[in-house]
Symmetry: none
Subunit: 186 residues, 2 copies
């Protein structure tokens, strides 16, 4: 998710997109959500800054989770480079924690520790639809990602990419160590 972008335009686009997906009119959605249609009109126009209650009721009426309305659609491949991560420094300790990925319910995440050595290019077949792979490089360098657009990762880098298409792992240095979290939808 983009942590700095103003969510105004995102909400406007998401509301219109989800409403058209359901196939109801602006008036009808406003009625179901229990808000004035003028309010909804302004929201879809990108004008305005809804309260949480207002946006929540719209999410309920649309049958989509709240976060769907405020977060931009996640790109298939997401990379957070070491040091470029949006983090927050704690005052009380020399502690910097970066939230790389938020786990959804109704999905299982298996944690793997993977050692790789150069020369062995592994082509992984597609897993079940909707699966996502999260990779954090501990040591060494890897080239990974979808077979069509591999990414090079260095220590501390994080990447998430779809696991339901063919993808690759290739170590670029000896004794490469990565943490791999495989996410399977229920």
């Amino acid at each position: 998710m983009d942590r700095t972008a103003p969510p105004l335009a995102t909400i406007a686009a998401a509301l219109r997109r989800e409403r058209e997906r359901v196939g109801i009119s602006l008036t009808e959605l406003a009625r179901r959500a229990g808000i004035a249609k003028s309010t909804l009109s302004q929201l879809e126009a990108g004008t305005g800054n809804p309260s949480v209650e207002t946006l929540w009721s719209l999410g309920v009426a649309l049958g989509v989770p709240f976060s769907r309305l405020v977060e931009p659609p996640t790109p298939p491949v997401r990379v957070i480079r070491a040091g470029e991560a949006p983090g927050i420094r704690s005052e009380q300790a020399d502690f910097t924690g970066i939230l790389l990925s938020v786990g959804s319910r109704h999905a299982r995440r298996d944690i793997y520790l993977v050692e790789l050595d150069p020369g062995a290019l592994r082509n992984a077949q597609a897993h079940i639809p909707g699966s996502v792979e999260h990779m954090i490089v501990a040591r060494g360098r890897v080239r990974t990602g979808p077979a069509s657009e591999p990414i090079e990762l260095r220590p501390g880098d994080y990447a998430a990419f779809p696991g339901d298409v063919e993808h690759v792992y290739e170590a670029l240095e000896p004794d490469t160590l990565v943490v791999l979290v495989m996410e399977h939808p229920d």
Copy 2:
């Protein structure tokens, strides 16, 4: 996410929880988020219905995704030393990795990348019951685990310990880097 629950109390609790996690004061958080501290005070008291912009800026200042603030919050010590892997090499998958932990359904796992420096012992208070923390050391050395029985981990080591009791993180070397997977039951 609960589609029907009123988000007011949830937001209040989440704001206070996340703020205390970061370890800053209400005044300081308000300053960083660029909002009046009176507004934040009312929000944490459960009074009020923040606008999206207000809550968004708080999420940015806290370093947590937006959804963490609106969604309601929804384990003995196990250590696997590097090289001492329990032989369960994944055969179903097409890579040679060590399956450290199998994710259960109906639990969310958030992935963090954490940088630590020595000298600062961080005491984390208990999280919600049933939560588990998984830690893999990428670089450096850490002493972590329940406050009553800390463990020393080296690069490649993996440990899982309960997160619903008081626990500690302490770096034993400068520039220590760990991958932390926090598991919250639904």
